[in-house]
């Protein structure tokens, strides 16, 4: 195996490459798509179930995955063989489903925190006048910020990767490509982003888990913590990170009153995201994305 294997092929075969002596990186696709991400999830799931000695981390990403391993325990060639076998198994599976959950994330769009932060870093932005939401609406040829918010919160998103910093979800909207919302990142990254900012860069939404630097456009804030190292909220009883790759996310616009009410619940240590188990089928999604997304919402809102 070498990094230069068939460098011209981008769509069919995955590209395998060693990241030093402790990592294998597999690029499933150079471009983002639900199919590529689903394949990543399925292959990494199979590998996780193998419980290979010497594998330290299996990290699914948007259209690729990374495995950190100890080559003193698991020879690189054996790891590569196991990964290729897992890829083949997934490729030959008749129909793929993913055991996951649907989560509702309340968002106060156009909130004062991200608006103020955006105003402070206008010199790093493509559009010095206006807000990030106004820029995003214009970039997507939408007539108003409200129309952008409707699109952003209308169809669900799939958590295609968790990382960058602890617990930060990257999300990809479950709509055909021609309806994807695309917004470039800031020209130069900000040095500050409010915690729990709902951001957007390229075709990805994200939620900033901690305060810090960032280059994604800022659309609003969620009141619900997604990273809780002290494990104060019920959603974090088992682990300090809320999001897992594969989680399906529905954004729900809220106003200031509801934001404050949820923050009070958080202060009292009793906030939980609305969430339901869900089995995601890529085939059923492709058969009729809009109908499928309605099913997702019925599962979320059913009791």
């Amino acid at each position: 195996m070498s990094s230069s294997t068939d460098a011209s092929s981008t769509s069919t075969a995955s590209r395998y490459s060693w990241g030093g002596d402790e990592h294998l990186v597999v690029q499933v696709s150079e471009e983002m798509s639900l199919e590529a991400n689903f394949s990543v999830m399925a292959v990494t799931d199979v590998l996780r179930q193998r419980h290979l000695d010497g594998v330290m981390d299996i990290c699914p990403a948007n259209a690729s995955f990374l495995i950190r391993f100890d080559p003193d325990v698991l020879a690189p060639a054996d790891l590569e063989a196991a990964v290729r076998a897992a890829e083949a198994e997934v490729a030959h599976a008749p129909s793929l489903t993913l055991e996951t959950r649907v989560v509702e994330v309340p968002v106060w769009y156009a909130d004062p925190y991200t608006t103020e932060t955006g105003a402070r870093f206008r010199d790093r932005h493509q559009r010095p006048e206006g807000t990030d939401l106004e820029f995003a609406a214009a970039e997507n040829a939408l007539s108003s910020v409200q129309e952008f918010i409707d699109r952003h919160s209308g169809a669900p998103w799939i958590t295609s990767m968790v990382g960058f910093v602890a617990g930060l979800p990257f999300m990809f909207q479950m709509v055909p490509r021609e309806r994807q919302l695309e917004v470039p990142k800031y020209l130069r990254p900000r040095t500050d982003t409010p915690p729990l900012t709902v951001g957007h860069g390229g075709c990805f939404a994200c939620i900033y888990s901690v305060r810090g630097a960032g280059g994604y456009q800022m659309f609003g804030v969620t009141p619900g913590p997604i990273f809780d190292p002290a494990q104060m909220q019920p959603d974090f009883a088992d682990f300090m990170v809320f999001f897992r790759p594969g989680d399906i996310v529905k954004f729900r616009p809220i106003d200031e009153t509801e934001y404050r009410r949820i923050r009070d619940e958080v202060s009292a240590g009793r906030f939980r995201f609305r969430q339901r188990p869900f089995r995601f089928s890529l085939d059923e999604f492709h058969a009729d994305p809009d109908a499928y997304n309605r099913t997702v919402l019925e599962v979320l809102n059913g009791d």
Binding site: S3, G20, L66, M161, A166, G202
Partner: protein, 321 residues
């Protein structure tokens, strides 16, 4: 037994050998950047490999001991004093109750490691006592130590007078050659771009911390392309992917960054290779201005380097055993 932080030095954190198994949700391994020096410090004072030590960059802390202790300082070359009297590095020594441990100016390298017999006793989080400051957890209160902090120390069994032989100590050079496995997204570089990566002598900038080390000195040329959907508009952009520890990314084609043990776990910049694990200790001991070249090696050579390092660790254990 406890240690009072009288002055914190720079970026002084509690670290052990790191935290495994949570990189998939963006929690990096953390742990001592120079794992070899941290291990040596632990072995000198009779600790287990995994005991927590203090790491400080460029400037040492001032520490007051509440009870007698056995201490060792390894890593960067920096004068050590106890109550104003010089003490050796790479050698265990006694401190008495009330003693003040202090450091002079950095002479070579970048990071010192201070081990105390019994280990720094902070709560383990996800299986490790290492500080992950970006996430605000681990170590002491999830942050670098501050003046007035009091760190508890466990029960120790160490003794003074153990010494790491000179040939096992790191070289701490200002000119470094880092063995690098090319690959990942290096196909995005033109031949000239790849040549520039390998032929440039890069200089470490002041932007060098536990997350990553940024270098200046050249510019890499990317192959032009219509960017794939979701990748972003700059030719150095990719659809956000996982970042190996030690991987080299080159945002915009200038200023390569080597990610270290508090790495951001992924992002949208093309990586062009990965520094072998055996050389990450060397990166940890580079200070701004260090001149660095990337030397391409095969995976087989990277594994040989790893085996060499393991033999060095075994020699260290034998010497201190």
């Amino acid at each position: 037994m406890a240690i009072e932080i009288v002055a914190p030095g720079l970026g002084c954190t509690v670290q052990d050998q790191g935290r495994l198994g949570h990189y998939d949700v963006g929690i990096p391994p953390s742990g001592a950047l120079d794992l070899f020096s941290a291990l040596a410090a632990n072995l000198l004072v009779g600790n287990d490999d995994g005991a927590a030590v203090l790491e400080a960059a460029y400037m040492g802390p001032q520490l007051r001991f509440t009870a007698p202790a056995v201490v060792a300082v390894t890593g960067a070359t920096m004068p050590v004093t106890v109550g104003g009297q010089a003490r050796p590095q790479w050698e265990s020594f006694d401190v008495a109750a009330g003693d003040l441990l202090e450091f002079g100016f950095l002479q070579q390298g970048a990071r010192i490691y201070i081990a105390v017999a019994g280990g720094i006793d902070v709560p383990a989080v996800l299986g490790s006592r290492s500080t992950y400051a970006l996430g605000g957890f681990g170590g002491f209160a999830g942050r670098p130590v501050q003046a007035g902090d009091v760190l508890e120390v466990g029960e120790g069994t160490g003794r003074a007078g153990l010494r790491v032989p000179g040939h096992l100590r790191p070289a701490l050079e200002r000119e470094q050659e880092l063995r690098t496995v090319l690959g990942l997204y290096d196909y995005r570089l033109t031949d000239r771009g790849l040549a520039a990566l390998l032929e440039t002598t890069w200089t470490l900038t002041p932007v060098a911390d536990r997350i990553g080390f940024r270098y200046s000195g050249g510019e890499l040329e990317w192959r032009p392309r219509d960017q794939p959907f979701g990748a972003g508009s700059d030719p150095s952009n990719i659809v956000d992917a996982g970042y190996p520890l030690g991987s080299i990314q080159v945002p915009g084609g200038v200023e390569p960054i080597i990610l270290h043990r508090d790495a951001v776990s992924g992002g949208g910049y093309a990586m062009v290779g990965t520094v072998v694990s055996a050389d990450l200790d060397t990166v940890a001991q580079s200070s701004p201005g260090t001149r660095t070249r990337f030397r391409p090696v095969s995976l087989a050579e990277a594994l040989e380097a790893r085996a060499d390092r393991r033999r060095r660790v075994e020699e260290l254990r034998a010497a201190l055993g």
